[in-house]
Symmetry: C2
Subunit: 202 residues, 2 copies
DNA sequence: CATTCTTAGACAGCTTAACTTTCCAACTAC
DNA sequence: GTAGTTGGAAAGTTAAGCTGTCTAAGAATG
């Protein structure tokens, strides 16, 4: 198919498709002439993924490019893959240098085997710092609960990764990590609603 | 203190402080003359909260204004309060009208008592839709796990809300809901790291 | 073959958000 | 009284993510 059909099929405006091509998010089609190229089903699927990353995933163009590069990568070992995927994932404002010590102390308490300079540690540290700055107390007991819940999810997430095809595994990790996040957050808010509704009616 | 000291104490540039005043995020100081006003400790704390909401919380100016309005509100019943806080919270692109039926089916399965038109339902639906569009399968079993984890957190979160002062309760709900989110997401990613590290070394 | 439509690619322009700078008259501190 | 600071308004800036315009080259149709 040509660009206008690709745009129609994917629901993405033609100018935007060109923009994604230019930005290197969408691979170029098979050129048939100087001013013509063919696109396939994989381009339609890719556009859906791009829109999911940019929209729901909340990624910037440049971060999405990095994430998609990881998805495209022939891939490494299962473990390195998760690391590569995570480091491509967004980490909020990285110009800030939060104090990692509190976060690291918790991680040691839980005996989690993580890189001390993992981007997620910075995220966690920044989150804790923001809570403290906002005057919100985070007792160990509360963080322990969050850690346990996160760990149970993480265990299953990793177990669910399809290990047969490396390419499929990276894709699974990247998409699953990123796009399940808004679902998890929404579920927590819905749980708040339900719990408070039940308390009220009891 | 006057504006320059407020700016220095809070670490927020003076021009930005004026901007927040203009945007109604920061209440005006006590005017002492036509071109002079006094600010207090509460302004310093408020600026810290504003920066936490805009930075780590990822809110836009207008959403932050709504959230802060909820925080300032004399407050309603404990339950309405959570609802008010949630509806002030961000819901991603609200121009999109995702298909709610799948999300609602899950909620019915879990027998959660939530408003069908709650913003969190849209968030959840949008998240599920993005996953599907990206070709990521979300079996009931997986969502059940996420729901259970979210519910356990939500139960404790609600139990932790200080019910003595309504004003303090709203503040707690808003900040706790919003600013614990990045921490939860970071913990999930760190759990992925730990689990995959353990699998590798075993 | 002639006419009309579509295309790739380059590039300039647009829109929104969040600041940031400039300005000025009114004050304050020395 | 003179140098510096302030509140408030308004214009300017920057970056991100598109969107529109243009041009020469092909495609589609009769």
């Amino acid at each position: 198919m040509r660009i206008s059909e690709l745009a129609r099929r994917s629901g993405v405006p033609i100018g935007t498709v060109k923009y994604y091509l230019r930005e290197g998010l969408l691979p170029a089609g098979e050129p048939t002439a100087a001013t013509q190229a063919q696109y396939g089903e994989e381009h339609v699927a890719r556009l859906a993924l791009i829109r999911a990353l940019l929209g729901t995933g909340g990624l910037s163009i440049s971060t999405a490019r990095a994430v998609l590069a990881a998805v495209d990568d022939p891939a490494l070992s299962p473990h390195d893959m998760i690391g590569a995927a995570h480091s491509a994932l967004p980490t909020m404002a990285e110009n800030e240098r939060p104090d990692l010590s509190t976060a690291q102390a918790h991680l040691r308490r839980w005996e989690w085997q993580v890189h001390e300079d993992s981007p997620a540690v910075s995220s966690m540290a920044q989150g804790l710092q923001a809570l403290q700055a906002a005057g919100f107390d985070t007792p160990d007991q509360m963080l322990d609960r969050y850690a346990r819940a996160a760990y149970e999810l993480g265990e299953q997430d990793v177990a669910d990764v399809p290990m047969d095809s490396p390419a499929e595994a990276v894709r699974y990790v990247v998409i699953g990590t990123l796009l399940l996040e808004p679902v998890l957050l929404a579920l927590r808010r819905l749980a708040h609603e339900d719990v408070s509704a039940r308390r009220l009616s009891s």
